[in-house]
């Protein structure tokens, strides 16, 4: 008789349902506590990092600014920013010189590019009703092609004086900002795209247009208040 025949066949071990639920409950509780603890520890550093990135972009646009104050433009009016911007609100950054005079406004625009959302910060000067500079703050466009929008001197020259004049009824821009194929730019509100990176170039135009269409009709009627904030800061 073989050894296998001598041994009785035992039923397989079956773990009780209670133990399975208890194990999963214990592990998920432990993991949940870990996630919440690390989230609370890292939250101030994450917020500070995001603020630094944004401030660097604003200061790169307005290098002579002595102070920068953040505002939220809501359908009900403009007020100083606090916490995260609510949905439907456009946050903008007002840059003042040492005397408290408003130098420029910086605001964010974003639109879907070739691979992901392209986020830009554009500088707006109320005196000329125009964009005077643009910085890409986030993109994942094709290296060497789409990401040239951040460095190509000819493309960046589009934003030296990009027209953002409001229409007479003050409800939107007189002319929508738009990207056009390389070499076909005719108007001051058009952006001459980089050849081979037209989708990314047009995304930047769309992002600025969408942001300005919301922001400027709210900002310009209350521009005097924004100017005053610089003096009372």
């Amino acid at each position: 008789m073989s050894t296998a025949e001598q041994q009785p066949i035992l039923p397989p071990d079956i773990t009780s349902g209670t133990r399975l639920v208890a194990t999963l409950g214990l592990v998920t509780t432990l993991c949940g506590a870990l996630i919440v603890a690390v989230w609370q520890i890292t939250l101030p550093a994450i917020a500070a990092n995001k603020k630094i990135v944004l401030e660097r972009a604003v200061r790169a646009l307005v290098p002579d600014a002595a102070s920068i104050i953040d505002f939220d433009a809501t359908p009900l009016g403009i007020h100083r920013a606090s916490g995260d911007a609510a949905p439907g609100t456009v946050r903008f950054h007002a840059a003042y010189d040492a005397q408290g005079e408003l130098q420029a406004i910086a605001a964010e625009g974003s639109a879907r590019g070739y691979t992901d959302t392209v986020r830009v910060l554009y500088g707006y000067r109320p005196a000329c009703e125009c964009v005077f500079g643009m910085k890409v703050i986030q993109m994942k466009e094709t290296p060497g092609i789409g990401d040239n929008v951040a460095t190509d001197a000819d493309f960046l020259a589009n934003f030296d004086s990009l027209d953002l004049a409001l229409a007479e009824d003050l409800k939107g821009l007189a002319h929508a900002v738009r990207g056009v194929k390389h070499g076909t730019k005719r108007f001051a509100w058009e952006i001459d795209a980089i050849s081979g990176a037209t989708i990314t170039s047009k995304a930047i135009g769309r992002g600025i247009n969408d942001s300005a269409q919301k922001l400027l009709p709210r900002l310009l009627p209350q521009l005097a208040e924004v100017k005053r904030e610089g003096a009372v800061k």
Binding site: L20, C31, W39, T42, A45, I46, K50
Partner: protein, 232 residues
């Protein structure tokens, strides 16, 4: 014939993932981040360290809990544990460097489905005590990081003329842009795999039968054995 196998020493556990079973060049695992984020040495190092963190922490916890986790729910439990540490590393990278976070993009979250990590949890950490499990995970993580660095540095040098952002060839260098585009990842990976295959062949010029000695690579041996069976 004895069926007992020799227990690997702690040093062998650690070195296994770095050379003999390197996840990138020998096991060819984790190819999604390997090809996608290795456009620069900085990105490769960041992704490698993030993976080391997740590997070591998840294998530590799984090894500690291995006797308490019933086999019926083990995969679900491992996934929860791995996802937890991926979430933690996501927060930590955001807190340390937003530049790195943006460069790595969605691939940080995708560490959760990196088969190296679940593979280590199931094949090793769930069956071994704490120290061997941690050493094995650390070795695998370092091996993965070295693999990413090998790709990232070559792609950055050829594609941009820099290494870790430092210019190597001056302003007259004409970059080979394809190297930082997706096809470049395949070219460089293919080059490294050729090199590793050549090294393995040089060490063992007669693939069948492969010697059972030190330095053989398990996957190559399995492939050679399968080839020999088909040839019969």
């Amino acid at each position: 014939m004895s069926t007992s196998t020799k227990q690997p020493t702690n040093l062998e556990e650690f070195l296994e993932g770095i050379w003999r079973q390197n996840p990138v060049f020998v096991m060819v695992l984790g190819m999604c981040p390997t090809l996608a984020v290795t456009v620069s040495g900085f990105n490769a190092l960041g992704m490698g360290l993030a993976t080391v963190f997740v590997l070591v922490c998840s294998c530590t916890l799984i090894s500690l809990l291995r006797k308490q986790i019933p086999k019926e729910v083990r995969i679900a439990t491992y996934i929860v544990i791995i996802a937890t540490f991926v979430t933690l590393v996501d927060y930590i990278i955001q807190a340390v460097s937003l530049r790195l976070y943006e460069a790595l993009g969605a691939f940080i979250q995708l560490i959760v489905v990196n088969c190296i990590i679940l593979g280590r949890a199931e094949a090793h950490a769930a069956k071994h005590p704490l120290l061997p499990a941690v050493l094995n995970a650390l070795g695998m993580g370092i091996g993965f990081t070295l693999g990413l660095l090998a790709l990232g540095s070559v792609r950055e040098i050829l594609g941009v003329g820099k290494l870790f952002g430092i210019s190597l060839f001056g302003e007259h260098f004409q970059p080979w842009v394809v190297m930082v585009l997706p096809p470049g990842g395949f070219f460089v990976l293919g080059g490294w795999l050729l090199l590793f295959a050549w090294l393995a062949k040089r060490k063992h010029p007669h693939p069948n039968p492969l010697p059972q000695g030190e330095g053989e690579t398990a996957p190559l041996r399995v492939l050679a054995e399968k080839g020999a069976q088909h040839g019969k």
